[in-house]
């Protein structure tokens, strides 16, 4: 069923049918209604391709996620999708699997499919990759940093501040031997967490120890492995701050295996506040990241840019979101369970 048939049945020209679809006001109410009826009766839908050939836009945006099995990322995705859906846009969700090549392939694929904009989450791409896309007139926004892509609109979390908040809390409740375990990804964010950690220790006059700073894969297993190394040390840390809850789970698991009580013998603070952090025993003290909000804000930023005139310079737009410290049991201070903002 195509526009020609509709035109024939309604006894008008294709142009008129096209008009009722695109500029309804420019057609006589009477004929319009007749055509609309025919369209409904024969449940006709305009051909997507023919339409695109003329308009060159698709009401579709691309969304690149590092790992779809990670619910935190999917919360961002949901935020993006919520906004897109509301604007009658469809979202292409792509699973980059933490691989630049895969990410690049997906971006190509998205460009071929003529998406109207792209949201990158913790992207591993280089600035040039992004430039190539934007040069084609497709706006890109970044949610969450990973590497140093500069000159592109971004919404990110104040990781430095959040880490500082966490470490300062540990110091406040009496710990001084504090280790940090961080994942290899997301690179840039984790660097900021380390900076925050180091800054607070330095401010407090606590000497930094290199062996208290460990990098591992950002997985439960990674946390387990790092914890085991920490456990084996002569001077074992009394508190451990991890760059993600997954790592913290691995640490807790290791502690259980080695019969070291949490938080009595070692305090643990995570990062992310994923669902399970509140279900594990002991409940995990952690940083709550506003993932869904990041998605919302990121998507809105993208649509802003898509709607704005070409001339405006949007490259420097940056939105910084704050996160809260959720104090629960794993960091070991009975008197201050609650939330700090």
């Amino acid at each position: 069923m195509n526009i020609k048939e509709i035109a024939k049945i309604a006894g008008v020209s294709v142009a008129t049918v096209s008009r009722v679809l695109n500029h309804p006001d420019s057609v006589a109410p009477e004929t319009k209604e007749r055509i609309l009826n025919v369209i409904k009766e024969s449940d006709y839908t305009p051909n997507w391709f023919a339409r695109g050939l003329n308009f060159n836009r698709t009401n579709t945006i691309g969304l690149l996620i590092p790992n779809i099995l990670n619910p935190s990322y999917m919360e961002i995705a949901k935020g993006v999708e919520d906004v897109a859906h509301q604007k009658d846009y469809t979202t292409f969700l792509c699973n980059a699997e933490n691989a630049v090549e895969k990410e690049r392939r997906y971006v190509e694929s998205l460009m071929r499919r003529k998406v109207d904009g792209i949201v990158l989450v913790s992207s591993l791409l280089e600035s040039e990759d992004v430039d190539a896309v934007m040069k084609q007139g497709v706006p890109v926004v970044l949610i969450g940093e990973n590497r140093n892509i500069s000159g592109i609109p971004i919404v990110r979390i104040d990781c430095h501040g959040a880490a500082a908040k966490a470490v300062r809390h540990l110091i406040d409740i009496g710990y001084r031997d504090i280790a940090i375990i961080y994942g290899t990804t997301p690179e840039r964010e984790n660097m900021r967490k380390i900076e925050g950690y180091k800054q607070v220790l330095t401010e407090e006059g606590i000497p930094l120890r290199n062996d208290y700073v460990m990098e591992v894969a950002n997985t439960v297993e990674g946390g387990y492995i790092a914890a085991r190394r920490l456990i084996g040390m002569v001077k074992r840390p009394r508190a451990i701050f991890t760059s993600s809850d997954l790592l913290a789970f691995g640490v807790i698991d290791a502690m259980r295996d080695y019969s070291i009580r949490v938080p009595e013998e070692v305090a643990i603070v995570g990062f992310d506040n994923i669902r399970m952090s509140n279900l594990i025993e002991p409940k995990l003290t952690t940083i709550e990241k506003p993932m869904h909000k990041m998605g919302l804000v990121g998507a809105r930023l993208l649509f802003d840019i898509m709607d704005s005139k070409e001339e405006e310079d949007t490259s420097s737009r940056e939105i910084l979101l704050q996160s809260k410290l959720k104090i629960r049991k794993s960091c070991g201070h009975r008197d201050r369970i609650g939330e700090i903002f």
Copy 2:
């Protein structure tokens, strides 16, 4: 940059350029190379719409997931995507959010975008919805049942058998007062689990109690609420089988809040074997569903159908996957920790 310009630069006709893109062998090696060079130099990409207008296919499939925040579903998604990616297909992942209307809207949207096939995960759609799609020549496969959509190719899990396996294990290790908590979704699967549960009890001559069968929302909170009801009963069950791990987590959480020891005072068996079931204390005995495999198998089935001739009747194809019982601590039998196949 379009095909015409390429043709001009290369000094050939558009047809020849088109040919090197679609039937490379039908072009003289020499001209082919020349054209290929021009294409590369000017990084030209064939226009998606023009192409689609002729072919009427997109190398794109649609994938409808009930909830993208649920990692189990995302494992299926990954399986589907793995196959699609390998076949050079792109996947449109849609988050139906357990809502029929939303699902319907997405299917429409996918059809408009001319996807070549659709994978439905635990769909809430009616048979008519699916028929409408298939009538348009777009094949559909279902992964995991939810309602009774019949006459459509499906890959599903033997939930009846799996539940029976779990309950029989509980009986084997000495329990007789066994409750079942099941989520409202996925409807059909959970019905089968109840059947399996009832069948085994009946076979063992254990009288069924209606108040031992509880339906709640399929969430941690749902499990918590149901558990609290169970705790308040005069004759409290000694073992609880839940239709999902999330529910089991809620149950464990409730037991902790009410100081009831698991598994000493109450045994718990979950369903799904999600990541966290192995990290929670006590580690959860559960049914391991081969999610990723379901995705792989489902996608392969879809591609099979897409590749097959129209005439073949594929409507009755059904693939039944078995799942394992993972015996861990929460069901309380020290002597038999391990795996049963």
